[in-house]
């Protein structure tokens, strides 16, 4: 990872499912928290928010899908790439798979990014203030939307425990996007 990419922080949300019968709210979160703490140095807890060196998690929410499944949502913010990798690792080690929506704020070259996506994406669409695409980056299928006027790129991706290590690392996607956008050569 280049020095420049270390300055980029991310925010977003992670969704994953657990079996309703096996879920105990407090213990699931405690287990996850302990897993993350074993990978990343913990700083401080403030109310519902847990700060680590490299990122913060908060707003754990539970949604009953049906009698068998419960969906769990977790928000992260001020996250460095390495923290994202460790967060995903902790979650998929526990539950097998999860879906992440990640937003990066960075002054990247959006013209470059747009040209690249037009040539390489499975699908590309553009409106006045944004462009979107479906593309494979580092063997991950991602849905991407960019808002150049806000220097923001957001991507949506699934991560699975069964995938290769490279495919389980959000940092690979982040670094590649920044590279395409001219920030991470």
């Amino acid at each position: 990872m280049s020095k420049r990419s270390l300055g980029i922080v991310a925010s977003g949300q992670i969704l994953f499912e657990v079996r309703s019968s096996s879920i105990e709210v407090d213990s699931l979160f405690d287990q996850l928290l302990n897993s993350i703490k074993s990978l990343v140095k913990f700083r401080i807890q403030k109310s519902d928010s847990y700060s680590f060196y490299g990122g913060k998690i908060s707003h754990l929410q539970f949604f009953n899908i049906d009698r068998e499944k419960t969906c769990v949502s977790l928000r992260f913010s001020r996250a460095k790439s390495k923290f994202l990798d460790n967060l995903i690792k902790a979650i998929i080690n526990k539950v097998g798979k999860c879906r992440m929506n990640c937003t990066l704020k960075a002054k990247i070259d959006f013209k470059n990014l747009k040209s690249y996506l037009k040539e390489n994406a499975k699908w590309f669409g553009e409106l006045e203030n944004s462009f979107s695409s479906k593309i494979n980056i580092k063997s991950n299928e991602i849905d991407l939307v960019a808002y150049p006027g806000m220097n923001t790129v957001s991507f949506d991706c699934e991560f699975r425990r069964s995938s290769s290590p490279r495919r389980r690392a959000p940092s690979q996607i982040v670094n590649e996007l920044l590279k395409i956008g001219g920030l991470n050569s």
Binding site: G12, Q13, S47, S73, G125, N129, S130, V145
Partner: protein, 423 residues
């Protein structure tokens, strides 16, 4: 609709008196922000006709490009909200509200074919009357018919959004924006009868800063709001105790020196011997009653007045500590200690730079100031927190709320919550 759909398409819209903050859940930690105003261009002008410009209302970043003669401004440049309220029968104002709503939704409209409309969460002032909710839903219905941009919508009070962002259901939220301040006790839902409104906000801090700049020899620039705001943010200090701070700064002005360079210009502001005035900016926000401010009022600086908006009186000179006490004491006695134990400061008017360590004996942060003001009123055992990125905490709360509320929770006019569908 699945949570994965909402993970991408929840949309927050915070209707502040001066600024409209908006954005989808995918735009990160900071929303887009535009001034809550609209311009009605002169359609008869030759330029409009020659270039075929047919927009009835201009909003957003384009407004400055359309401004014409300054004598027309008062009739053409309209600010629809006053203290968070739009007058019921003000057609032009409601047209602007519709246009900024459409502008915001359009800005974040995604290109993906699977998009079927946003889950829109709007927030209004805690004192917004019921007709504002009705009008806003009507606007959303129209926008949805025209463009399909809204799937479902809900409206929540701004202090509730802040409480949601902090996952706290029992608290006092002080939401202080550009034009006014709302002090709102919350116990599961805002306690409407306990709300205290103050006719004082960031704009008043700008006013005292402008006077300070005039006194310091920067009269020409004191009329330019952007310059005044920059000076306020760079120079303003919140005093631990005003008289002690002023005395210390008068004895040793160099210790409290600050130099502000305006980017892109050759202008630098230095207060020389009068560095003590930096403390006036912070004090005025929290408590404008000190006698030192009298000279400014006498010289013409507008004194914050009491104004009535609907059935709510916005008090001009009430200090923030007194406002919290007044609001809490309107609540059940058993609830009061719980409210004091969770006080949240939100809104751009609480965005202050951390004072340098060397001045920590005299300059403090907003939370500490609030605790001191409450202590003066005899209230101890309080917990005060300033929200992170206070100017965006309402918007963040909207986005979190939008993700959390189940699809099948339909809008109820008695409870004033739930989703209204536009499918």
């Amino acid at each position: 609709m699945s949570l994965e759909y909402r993970q991408k398409y929840v949309f927050g819209a915070d209707y502040g008196t001066s600024y409209f903050k908006f954005g989808s859940i995918t735009c990160g930690e900071e929303p887009k922000m535009i001034e809550n105003r609209g311009y009605f261009p002169n359609k008869e002008s030759i330029i409009q006709r020659a270039f075929g410009i047919t927009k009835e209302i201009i909003v957003g970043d384009e407004v400055p490009l359309y401004l014409q003669a300054s004598e027309d401004l008062s009739s053409r440049l309209i600010y629809p909200m006053r203290n968070g309220v739009v007058e019921k029968n003000d057609e032009k104002a409601w047209k602007i509200v519709k246009e900024i709503s459409r502008y915001g939704l359009d800005y974040f409209k995604p290109a993906e074919p699977e998009f079927k409309g946003f889950y829109l969460v709007a927030s209004l002032s805690s004192i917004a009357p019921r007709y504002m909710y009705e009008k806003l839903f009507q606007i959303y219905d129209e926008i949805s018919d025209e463009s399909g941009l809204i799937k479902v919508a809900t409206i929540i009070p701004q202090p509730l959004a802040v409480a949601i962002a902090h996952k706290t259901t029992t608290c006092v939220v002080i939401e202080s924006g550009h034009g006014n301040t709302q002090v709102c006790p919350i116990s599961r839902y805002p306690i409407r009868n306990a709300i205290v409104a103050i006719n004082r906000g960031g704009g008043d801090a700008n006013a005292i800063t402008a006077e300070i700049l005039k006194d310091s020899g920067y009269s020409d620039l004191a009329h330019e709001e952007a310059f005044v705001i920059k000076a306020k943010e760079s120079l303003g200090l919140i005093p631990k105790e005003l008289e002690r701070a002023i005395e210390a700064a008068k004895k040793n002005p160099k210790k409290f020196k600050a130099r502000v360079k305006i980017p892109g210009t050759r202008i630098t502001i230095e207060l020389e011997e009068n560095t003590w005035v930096r403390f006036l900016i912070g004090e005025y926000v929290f408590d404008p009653n000190h006698e030192v401010f009298q000279s400014y009022f006498v010289r013409g600086m507008p004194r914050p007045k009491d104004v009535r908006v609907g059935d709510m009186v916005f008090r001009g000179m009430l200090d923030f500590g007194g406002s919290i006490v007044e609001a809490v004491e309107r609540c059940p006695i058993e609830l009061q200690p719980h409210l004091y134990r969770e006080i949240l400061l939100s809104g751009g008017n609480f965005c202050w730079k951390v004072p340098p360590e060397s001045l920590s004996d005299f300059a403090i942060d907003p939370s500490t100031k609030m605790k001191l003001l409450l202590k003066k009123k005899g209230i101890t055992n309080v917990k005060v927190n300033t929200t992170s990125m206070p100017q965006y905490s309402v918007w963040r709360g909207c986005v979190i709320y939008g993700f959390a509320v189940p699809d099948d929770y339909a809008w109820n006019w008695e409870r004033m919550e739930g989703w209204l569908s536009f499918e």
